[in-house]
């Protein structure tokens, strides 16, 4: 095969999913329709959104998925992107308004707006967006799919495998949206940056614990890769070590990145008030 054929082959989905395609295409379509202005700041936000969306699609609907099914560390990398990196970029771009604006008016008026107004739905979203609940879900999902017996079955069963990856992507969006969305539930007071930063630090530790546990284990914890065959001959020990390291180091690093973004926003928010207080002092 020529290199060109190889690259095209790599871009074709390993297991085609109409759902992933439909969701990604709809999101892209809504975003394009909803984009009005093109100031420099807006262009940067659009770049964040597109990077996140393309990364998610690439993780699920290219030949990369084959490698993620047959190599533990590539599976960890897939989850790092689905749960940490891509949702981080998308949530940071705050695409909500644009996506909503991109909806055709009849759908917006007759379907989405009543849904947004529905008290039950609001209650549920508010509930899972509680910082503590969202954090437990975020860490809990990582732990759940890494229980060796659960992991074994999830890698063999297509529906469970899809549920796992979807769950990671959706939960990632919920978590990072909670982190970067500073409006409180009743829409009045802003939430406090410090609380968010503390939360980001707290979710690091359980991830470090499980990552280190996997990386330092002498046992082959995830035997399914040996059973089904690895994507290329790599020793199970090395595979598990790299996979553990990704969960140990790279995943918590996204917390640091998130905290830096929040710090910057916090400082910016304080700048005018600092200037104000200095002006007051000068006057007195």
């Amino acid at each position: 095969m020529t290199p060109l054929e190889n690259s095209i082959g790599f871009l074709a989905p390993y297991e085609f999913s109409p759902t992933v395609l439909a969701v990604c295409v709809s999101a892209a379509w809504l975003y394009v329709r909803g984009s009005a202005s093109s100031s420099e700041q807006e262009r940067f936000r659009a770049l964040l959104f597109w990077s996140g969306l393309v990364l998610m699609y690439a993780m699920l609907q290219t030949r990369y998925d084959f490698y993620a099914q047959h190599m533990f560390f590539l599976h960890r990398l897939q989850h790092l992107v689905l749960h940490h990196l891509a949702p981080f970029l998308i949530a940071l771009s705050a695409p909500g308004e644009r996506l909503l604006a991109g909806l055709p008016a009849p759908i917006r008026h007759h379907l989405i707006e009543p849904l947004l107004g529905c008290r039950l739905l609001r209650g549920v979203t508010t509930g899972i967006q509680q910082p503590l609940v969202a954090s437990i879900l975020f860490v809990g999902l990582i732990y759940f799919w890494l229980i060796p017996d659960v992991h074994f079955i999830a890698m063999l069963n297509l529906s469970l495998y899809n549920a796992m990856n979807w769950g990671m992507a959706v939960d990632g969006l919920l978590f990072w949206w909670m982190v970067f969305n500073m409006r409180s539930d009743d829409g009045n007071a802003d939430r406090h940056f410090g609380g968010r930063i503390l939360l980001l630090f707290l979710v690091m530790f359980p991830q470090i614990v499980i990552g280190a546990h996997i990386a330092l284990s002498n046992q082959d914890l995830f035997t399914v890769y040996a059973v089904c065959g690895r994507a290329w001959p790599l020793s199970e020990h090395v595979d598990q070590q790299i996979g553990g390291l990704i969960t140990w180091i790279h995943a918590p690093m996204m917390s640091i990145a998130g905290a830096l973004v929040l710090f910057r926003r916090w400082m910016r928010q304080r700048e005018p008030s600092i200037a104000e207080s200095e002006a007051c002092r000068d006057l007195s």
Binding site: Q69, S135, I136, V139, D149, L156, L158, V227, C228, R230
Partner: protein, 197 residues
């Protein structure tokens, strides 16, 4: 708040000791309902197309390998053959389906003389790249080839799984080639036969 936070942080730790295996009296791991039913389209050692339906009514042990495999594949096939014989079944009741993932070297003739060695229990199958790819995707297995040496011989890396299907073509057990015991497999086969009848 601080107490629930503490619980939130410690809860995941409780899950770690829960990772142990549960003891099973079966040699194979129960994967009933986990994987799809027996279905494929491949070529047999006389060049005819064979599908999963050709094995209706038989217990099938599905295994992926290649005939140039020096020890693992022949050992696995002879242990499985021994297990079927020990269980007291004939080839009409149980069939070991050996899928070669090395179609370049494993022509129908090569496959025929290879499986004749284990006959009548082993059926050797292979197929085009696309056919093998479909079976591999369906049963979530991977295989790949090593670099050829000076004589053009190369290693083939493949899954170590043996998927066991009951007489109705439903997946039942997962055996692993590293931990095969003929007597224990024979026991599993008898239990499968009883549960099917």
């Amino acid at each position: 708040m601080s107490r629930s936070l503490l619980i939130a942080l410690l809860l995941p730790l409780l899950l770690v000791p829960a990772c142990g295996r549960n003891e099973s009296p079966w040699q194979g791991r129960n994967i009933q309902g986990v994987m799809p039913d027996l279905a494929f389209s491949l070529t047999d050692d006389s060049g005819h197309t064979v599908t999963g339906a050709n094995f209706a009514g038989k217990i099938v042990l599905l295994y992926f390998g290649f005939t140039h495999c020096e020890d693992v594949c022949p050992t696995t096939l002879s242990t499985l053959t021994k297990a079927v014989r020990t269980a007291g079944y004939d080839a009409d009741q149980v069939r070991i389906v050996f899928v070669s993932v090395d179609p370049r070297r494993d022509t129908p003739e090569v496959l025929r003389s290879y499986s004749a060695h284990f006959s009548p229990y082993v059926t050797g199958l292979s197929g085009t790249e696309a056919q093998l790819g479909d079976v591999a995707r369906r049963y979530r297995v991977a295989y790949n080839y090593g670099e050829p040496d000076a004589d053009g011989d190369y290693e083939v890396y493949h899954s170590s799984a043996i998927f066991v299907f009951d007489a109705r073509g439903k997946v039942r057990l997962l055996l692993q080639q590293q931990q095969l015991d003929a007597a224990a497999v024979a026991n599993d086969l008898r239990r499968l036969m009883v549960s099917a009848s």
